[in-house]
Symmetry: C2
Subunit: 364 residues, 2 copies
């Protein structure tokens, strides 16, 4: 087995490693035993899709390292990322009688990771948790950085905490069983890093689209590692999103509105973000921030990754209302992440509702 790539997220006493290695899933038990030498119990939180594929392997690995393993399975999908599901996780933690030093293992995608992290943040006012992301989106984005949350009927991720994991354990081999639309959704977050900071990386992803979609191991592993580094670097600069970290929300204000208006049933998160990035690019051109052709480059790259690029039809009022509850908004203003060009993003505080009306009208 190839040597692992290990990247340290340095956040004082909240620091942790991202451990990336093909075939490492069933080696988690020993790593966790090293990290928590005095803990006896842990609980795996997973979902109905991941459980039949990977739960037993992880469980046996943990038991082989003397862990007493509890488990709790949630339904799959954004639709279930609710206070109610989280509350049932809290019940499971109570039933397992976990102590303050005993960890949660989040085995699944972004929804499982976000909810498990929020459960870890709240149970006994905070216990450790370990991210074992099984989707590309979770591996390149949501498992790193400590944003945990559940959604509210009026807005995505509105209830949560900044709470860092103690370890992120990535095995890219699990992507072999990932549904193709889930794979593509993850690639939207990958290309986002390029759009914000690095035009070369953006171009590379577009160029390597076929290999990525075919899960070429070397290319995929390199892209995951690069993505984790982009994410970790910005988190180290701005852990609680007081400033620069907000750039990571490129495409997310529109994207969250798309997910919310379609009741989390039509688009995966990454698909909403893909469309949202196209809209942000068009708005950047419309307002004269970005040169003509910026939107076209964005659309072309996302289409190479077989991602959607056109927004669903809603009125401007519906869009504004859905975005008004996005939690990144200060006061009554909506903040947008816009582009100066591919590879350079910024926060626009002065976008007017009228600008959004023009944008939405341009799609009809």
């Amino acid at each position: 087995m190839k040597k692992p790539d290990i990247y340290r997220v340095a956040l004082d006493e909240r620091s942790y490693d991202i451990h990336l290695q093909s075939g490492s899933l069933n080696k988690l038990g020993a790593a966790m035993r090293d990290l928590f030498p005095h803990a006896e119990r842990c609980i795996i939180i997973s979902n109905t899709v991941v459980e039949p594929l990977y739960l037993n392997g992880v469980k046996h690995s943990l038991e082989a390292s003397s862990w007493q393993v509890f488990e709790h399975i949630v339904e799959d999908g954004e639709h279930f990322k609710t206070v109610d599901t989280w509350s049932k996780i809290m019940d499971a933690l109570m039933d397992a009688r976990l102590s303050r030093n005993e960890p949660i293992v989040a085995l699944g995608g972004g929804v499982v990771g976000d909810m498990s992290g929020f459960a870890a943040a709240c149970y006994r006012r905070g216990i450790p948790f370990v991210q074992v992301p099984t989707t590309l989106l979770a591996q390149v984005d949501s498992s790193v950085g400590g944003k945990t949350a559940v959604s509210h009927p009026h807005g995505k991720n509105m209830i949560g905490a900044f709470y860092q994991p103690k370890l992120v354990w990535i095995d890219p081999d699990v992507l072999q069983t990932l549904a193709p639309n889930q794979l593509r959704a993850g690639l939207a977050e990958v290309i986002k890093y390029g759009a914000i900071w690095d035009a070369d990386f953006f171009n590379q992803i577009e160029r390597d689209a076929q290999q990525l979609l075919a899960l070429d191991t070397a290319v995929v592993n390199q892209v995951i590692l690069a993505s984790c580094r982009y994410k970790a670097e910005i988190v180290m600069q701005d852990e609680t999103e007081q400033g620069a970290r907000a750039l990571l929300n490129l495409g997310h204000t529109f994207g969250h509105a798309i997910e919310s208006m379609t009741h989390y049933t039509t688009y995966l998160h990454g698909e909403g973000v893909a469309i949202g990035m196209c809209m942000a690019a068009r708005l950047s051109e419309q307002l004269g921030y970005a040169p003509k052709g910026t939107e076209k480059s964005m659309v072309k790259a996302l289409q190479a990754l077989k991602l959607p690029v056109n927004p669903p039809e809603f009125t401007a009022i519906q869009w504004l209302d859905a975005m008004g509850h996005d939690k990144k908004n200060v006061g009554s203003r909506i903040r947008y992440v816009l582009l100066k060009k591919i590879g350079e993003a910024f926060i626009a505080e002065d976008v007017k509702n009228q600008d959004i009306e023009i944008l939405i009208a341009s799609y009809t």
Copy 2:
């Protein structure tokens, strides 16, 4: 009006003032305007007992300083300190569309303060909150230090966060409307500080019992200030209860069990703590840690404050089961705060279930 006493809780960027002044309740608006110059909205969380007495005064004070004020009223009592009540607070925050920089005002006792603080910790991953404690217990203990939580059917305060307020605003005049049993319950937490750290303070409280129960202004104000200092000092040493802060749980492992076994309907929190401190004192003597007479001193002082000192009748198994879910327990061991003498407490890790059986048997 007398000059305010202001005590600074120094916790780096989480620092805040405790502001203590008779008659200050209706001056809150101006102070909050200074503290949050850019915020437009705030929401007052209060309960059905406090609302008719103090809500309008606070609201007018805020409106006079250009605040747009929302409000949300919860039922009164520990019984309602649940995920469900908290979830309804989250709905109210969503409806008010509070931004990340707009505060919650917790106007009430410990239950309102703990739940509002936990809501502030979670809404948009954290917004500011201000404690305006209206019970003695909240003024001398729970409003300071950032322990926020709701309870789970299987254990008190099991779901929460360490999350500091931005201001604690204490007006002792509001104690004039406090029910006598609530006043006495608060005095249990006051005398606790003496039992843990300061025999002179312990003796002073016993000596001044009559004046305290009669709400003599000078004595009460001095006692609140002294209590806030004890609390703040230990919080500054150990914000997240990794060590010394656990001493504040004197009487609480038994006390929480008493509250839980009686379904939060029979004893106020402070009453449970009073009984719990007597049990801790008796256990300390039983195990040879404290000299004979320690329990007697404890009982005498609490009786002077008209607090209960005898535990309700339950079997040792019921006690152990109720305490097994107390969140201060590491692994499967139950940790007890015991006394070496009045004025000196310590954490005992090695109390055996058998010792508890003997203790419980001694009461029958």
